[in-house]
């Protein structure tokens, strides 16, 4: 029995190792090539490690390119992703509280309707949404990237599931003590739903940071753009500058990677949370 178990462990390890080599290669290639001088890349043939280690690609790509201002794009993305995350946390926790704890007419029908709209393909609303953003005067403004992405129903569903698991006795005893709904929400429910809110925050931040199609439509001013659509412009400029392009890509992926490193526990938890959703 013991032998058989360690046998399957070895097979699994070898398989994963093989896959891991394939999976890690593009990442290591990106890191190492971003430190190579462009001259070496173009004249010395391909080497895995840099022959000379230099920072020049980073300096140039971050600060010395006014038609692809990467540092500015990065800051724009930080503002957009952080704002959207905060907005989502507020409206989603309020709404989930409403749909689980409060009584009002048509509550269940309304929630079912919201869930059903998740099946609507979002491609249909792309064009009118642009018109709405335009008539609000939001083209090239952060709001265009922050607000429309915050209306998703799935987050409410997740938080609502989690809230349903909190015993009603908690709020009832507070109610007996005379607490208002809002006090129950702030003092009792909110501290208890922190785990699921962390999950929502992580996904919202990552989603906002990585959003590509929509911001590429609502931003045409190069200085106002977030980094993800910005990289498409940059790709055109650095088509033949391997080191520069890869340094830019690495800068763009750093925030979500770091976030994941520090919150890996929550990420994994969260995905099993959403896997509770049965087809």
């Amino acid at each position: 029995m013991l032998k058989k178990k360690s046998g399957s462990k070895i097979v699994a390890f070898l398989f994963l190792l093989l896959m891991a080599i394939i999976w890690i290669f593009p990442l290591l290639y990106t890191v190492f090539s971003s430190f190579k001088p462009e001259e070496d890349i173009q004249t010395k043939g391909f080497t895995f490690l840099p022959i000379h280690w230099v920072m020049v690609n980073y300096q140039e790509v971050l600060f010395h390119n006014t038609s692809a201002p990467l540092a500015k794009w990065f800051m724009n993305s930080v503002i957009i992703a952080v704002s959207q995350t905060l907005l989502v946390l507020v409206i989603v926790s309020l709404a989930a509280f409403g749909y689980t704890r409060l009584k009002f007419k048509g509550k269940n029908a309304l929630f079912l309707f919201l869930m059903a709209t998740m099946m609507f393909p979002s491609v249909v609303n792309l064009i009118p949404l642009y018109k709405i953003i335009d008539s609000l005067g939001w083209v090239n403004s952060y709001l265009a990237a922050i607000v429309p992405g915050a209306v998703g129903v799935f987050n409410i569903f997740l938080v609502r599931q989690f809230m349903t698991g909190i015993p009603k006795e908690f709020d009832e005893s507070a109610k007996v003590d005379g607490a208002s709904d809002f006090q129950i929400f702030i003092k009792i429910i909110l501290p208890l739903i922190k785990p699921v809110l962390t999950v929502v925050a992580l996904f919202t931040f990552t989603g906002a940071w990585n959003d590509f199609l929509w911001p590429s439509i609502v931003f045409n001013d190069v200085d106002k753009m977030p980094i993800t659509p910005g990289l498409q412009l940059l790709q055109g400029m650095y088509a033949m500058d391997v080191g520069h392009a890869l340094a830019a890509a690495l800068i763009a992926l750093l925030p979500t990677f770091l976030l994941y490193l520090f919150t890996q526990k929550y990420f994994v938890e969260s995905l099993s949370l959403s896997s509770g959703v049965k087809g």
């Binding site: 391909f46 989603v92 064009i127």
Partner: protein, 310 residues
Amino acid sequence: MMNTQLNEVTVSPTLVKKPVKKRHWNLSPYLYIGPHLILFLIFFLAPTIYGIYISFTNWDLVNKADFVGLANYKEILFNHESTFYDQLHTGLFNTFKFVLFTVPACVVVPLLLAAGLHAKPVGKNIFQALFYAPTLISVSAVMIIWSMLFNVTYGPITSYFHTETNWVGVQPYAWITLVIVTVWWCIGGNMVIYQAALNGISKDLYEAASIDGAGSIQKFFKITLPSMKNQLLYRIVITTVAQFNVYGQPLMLTKGGPTSTTTVLLMYIRGNAFGTGQSIAGIASAMAVILGLCIMVVAAIQFFFLRERN
């Protein structure tokens, strides 16, 4: 009202520090669901309905739209001489191809990885983090990385395999490239969900099967797969819907080429509505509605077909 007044007097000081403010904060239920509902109406529901409406108009994004009935649909579906007819057919054909090529791999590869991780080998956590990592990268950064990897002049793939293959510029390599990149990029989510599903299967089932003399392959097909049926079905549908919305990969990696063989419908929709020159939002909306219908129909077929068999 009377009740709340009464309660205010006996309110517990630990819960409510300023009982005077209490009534002010007692919001009606609609104030809780309202913020989301209003934004949802303005930024999702209204544009979705309006998007369907303008597919029946000749809107150009600027001027007033005239109702033209089914003219847009007739043009893109049946008018063989129209460029939009070509666009719809090429775009939809390539989108379906992309779905067909990527979905099986994006469902099965993470299943193998999850099964491997489930055996708890040395370095399990590192492996898991590594396979999940690409999912965290934006499509544009992934495409920059892979277009450099496949670069004919300076790329490592050319150098290691001693080929002169122009990966992104010649078929069938352009499709192979797109599939490889997509699988590398997006297996993480499915993998973690499969891991959770595997953890949920009772060990007793496997032990009972062992006693009955079942081998590991038999166990996989008779116990593991049926036990995670729900998660698999859910992930197949989700993955399919996601791949139908393909846009960034062909846009940045193959530029839709060679000669439009990888141009997907979303690229045409975007080009017609927001490209340079006169916007043809009406036609683009009709294309979007058709794409949306395809997504819903395919998801429904998958759902019923996979349900039925069990």
